[in-house]
């Protein structure tokens, strides 16, 4: 039971970060129907910038919380700038083009960002300095650290903030209007280009924070971290229903939990020695041995399997694509 709860807690933590990254995908997709391949790299750049600042400031004697805040404070504007420039330079000129065109530029932008990061930060792994003293609490036999609590709280705050922005502010209304019908929104006096740029900037800002959270959860940041994180977040967005903001949140959390549980239990389920009639035929099973077909090293496969299953069984995602709500 405590393994189960432990995996759920770990999954929730990772999943809430996926959810915040997934928001970046889903917002952009909702508004211009583009899979912004480069979003994962934006997240990576956020983590790298923040880690560089944090490492530089760590010996200065400032309170740890202030160091982390300054680091994040530097990462967010940098990522927003990156997000804005890629929209302006690589996607806006192709707005009327066939759908394949911006998708291919997005792949290009992603390669460029990843290798620029490689040039700046080299292949080395940036480590998160040990400045925060993490305490561990126990709930019903499962451990939860202060870092995990902080990540959950921040992600929750970010998601509520975004929900407020999209559903309660003039900008959010403009975003939803643009998502529904760009031309009509333009006729109603909305500066469509500005709204789209704003969407990219907000998504990138969220991504920056997510990058810092993800990096501090695992303690490391590297120039390659963006692609796999981005892919998983995209899977989360599709799982929840791409273009749908509550869907991305739900999808992210669900994917995190599924992944953690899957990694925790797949070894048990695929241990052929558990199944009586097969076990008799395998030598390795004698004396309580194991014959595990697939272990937790397949963890990264789960997201893709979930993605393919969702696309086959329910392509519109869990929460569907309620057209009126896409933003």
């Amino acid at each position: 039971m405590d393994t189960f709860l432990q995996q759920v807690i770990n999954g929730l933590t990772a999943g809430s970060v996926y959810a915040v990254v997934a928001l970046g995908y889903t917002m952009v997709y909702g508004i211009i129907q583009l899979i912004n391949f480069a979003h994962g790299e934006v997240v990576m750049i956020g983590a790298m910038v923040a880690f560089t600042m944090i490492n530089a400031l760590a010996p200065s004697g400032l309170p740890p919380l202030a160091v982390v805040l300054i680091g994040t404070g530097c990462a967010v504007p940098v990522c927003m700038l990156v997000g804005y420039s890629m929209e302006r330079l690589a996607y806006r000129p192709l707005r009327g083009a066939p759908r394949l065109a911006p998708l291919i530029t997005a792949i290009g932008v992603s390669i460029i960002l990843q290798h620029l990061a490689l040039m700046i930060w080299s292949r080395n792994i940036l480590a998160f300095p040990q400045i925060i003293e993490s305490q561990t609490y126990f709930i019903a036999g499962a451990a939860i650290t202060t870092v995990q609590i902080a990540i959950l709280a921040i992600c929750l705050a970010l998601m509520s903030g975004l929900a407020w922005l999209v559903y309660r502010t003039p900008l959010g209304t403009a975003m939803r209007a643009t998502a529904q019908n760009r031309q009509v929104a333009g006729l109603m006096g909305i500066d469509v280009n500005r709204v789209i740029a704003a969407t990219f900037v907000i998504g990138a800002g969220l991504g920056a924070v997510a990058g810092v959270l993800f990096g501090s959860y695992y303690g490391i940041a590297q120039y390659t971290m963006g692609s796999i994180l981005g892919l998983k977040a995209f899977c989360a967005a599709v799982l929840g229903g791409i273009g749908n903001i509550p869907g991305a949140m739900l999808g992210g959390v669900l994917l995190g939990v599924m992944e953690a549980l899957g990694a925790g239990y797949i070894g048990d389920f695929t241990d052929l020695c558990r199944y009586g009639w097969i076990a008799g035929t395998i030598d390795a099973c004698r004396d309580g041995g194991h014959f595990i077909l697939a272990g937790s090293n397949y963890q990264d496969v789960f997201a893709f399997v979930v993605l393919i299953m969702v696309l086959v069984l329910r392509p519109q995602g869990l929460l569907g694509e309620r057209v009126g709500d896409r933003a």
Binding site: Q33, L34, I35, A90, P93, L94, G96, A97, P98, R99, L100, A101, P102, L103, I104, T105, I107, G108, V109, S110, I111, I112, Q114, H115, L116, L118, M119, S227, L231, F234, C235, V238, A284, F291, I292, L293, A294, G295, N297, Y298, D300, V301, A303, F304, V305, L307, I308, L311, V312, P315
Partner: protein, 358 residues
């Protein structure tokens, strides 16, 4: 000058052109061998990329399905060959048996990937294929336990070279007073396979199937209402593209003599996509041009960028590998922005773009 080269008035000029190209292709490896056998090897890999790019062109260029996990089929072909012709399982089947098996297995994987994804629109398809490519790589990496099938990250070594009745492609030989090194023999074999695949591609393009693919690419709903079986034709595109990848993979396996999952990473898929996009989606000659250009880029960079940086800064600031990837990235973006149909656009794409501009 123009009138001298007017092929409509002098149809035999076409054959002169063919002969010139043929003779220069035949002599190329010997010229390259003068500089160094490495260059023959590099050319061989370039031809492998041409094979891959032509295979992907069927999926992306003809049928308009963006496949970002294409290297998975290359991997399937390579591993099929490696497992059936290496000491790993103690099997040593001849290559003319394995290559068709590799092509068939890859085609099967193509259908397996295609079947659940055909309903999806282009951009979803891109992500699913990307995920598929990663799944194949992760599985290859981990399929060494509990039963050792792929030998995991260590890969499979001592793979047999191609051989026919004691004539091995891997060894040095003297024939008719001319020296043939292993790479040169492979060069001719690869060239032959490439020619075969080019012919198949050319014939496909203007066939009933090719025109159906084009129709699906342009407007799937319209194509279906014209009585085209879109599902089967898309599956066919996947299977054919995959089988070409499988053949290329098998040859890669034999030439290299060693394979590991490292050779089949996402970057390779993106590289093949870049070749197709840069050259001109749907145009066979464009795709070949793109593949040749991009596969020589790393070598050219190695010979120019490194000494240049040494001379300018006294040390290497940026690795050629990084510059190569940046070039790919910029090539993808700039081609899409300024020349969306590629360096050599296909006739149809050119027409579309002219319409869009008007």
């Amino acid at each position: 000058m123009q009138s001298y080269l007017d092929t409509r008035r002098r149809p035999w000029l076409v054959w002169v052109g063919f002969a010139l190209v043929g003779v220069s292709l035949a002599l190329l490896p010997f010229a390259l061998a003068q500089i160094g056998t490495t260059w023959v090897r590099i050319t061989n890999y370039a031809i492998l990329y041409v094979l891959l790019a032509l295979g992907l062109n069927i999926v992306v260029g003809f049928a308009g399905l963006l496949d970002l996990g294409y290297i998975a089929f290359y991997a399937v072909g390579a591993y099929t060959y490696a497992l059936l012709a290496s000491p790993h399982f103690g099997l040593h089947l001849p290559f003319w048996i394995i290559l068709p098996i590799g092509a068939a297995v890859a085609a099967l994987f193509g259908v397996l990937l295609g079947a659940p994804t055909l309903k999806l629109r282009g951009d979803y398809l891109a992500i699913v294929t990307l995920g598929f490519g990663e799944i194949v790589r992760i599985v290859l990496n981990n399929l060494s336990r509990p039963v050792n099938i792929t030998n995991g990250p260590q890969g499979i070594t001592r793979i047999d070279p191609f051989a026919v009745d004691g004539f091995s492609f891997g060894t040095y030989e003297r024939f008719l007073g001319i020296e043939f090194s292993g790479p040169i023999k492979y060069y001719y074999l690869l060239l032959l396979v490439a020619l075969g695949i080019i012919v198949v591609n050319l014939r496909l393009q203007n066939s009933r199937i090719g025109r159906a693919w084009e129709a699906i690419r342009e407007d799937e709903v319209a194509a279906r209402s014209m009585g085209i079986d879109t599902r089967n034709l898309k599956l066919l595109a996947f299977a054919m593209g995959a089988s070409f990848g499988g053949v290329a993979g098998g040859m890669f396996s034999a030439i290299q003599g060693f394979i590991s999952p490292e050779s089949f990473v996402l970057v390779e898929s993106i590289m093949v996509v870049s070749m197709v996009v840069l050259g001109g989606m749907g145009n066979i000659w464009g795709v070949i041009l793109g593949a040749v250009l991009l596969s020589f880029v790393p070598e050219i960079l190695r010979w120019t960028v490194e000494p240049l940086q040494e001379a300018l800064f006294g040390r290497m600031l940026v690795e050629p590998e990084v510059i190569r990837m940046l070039l790919f990235g910029f090539a993808l973006v700039l081609v899409m922005l300024f020349r969306p149909a590629g360096l050599l656009p296909s006739a149809v794409r050119r027409r579309e773009l002219a319409e869009r501009a008007a």
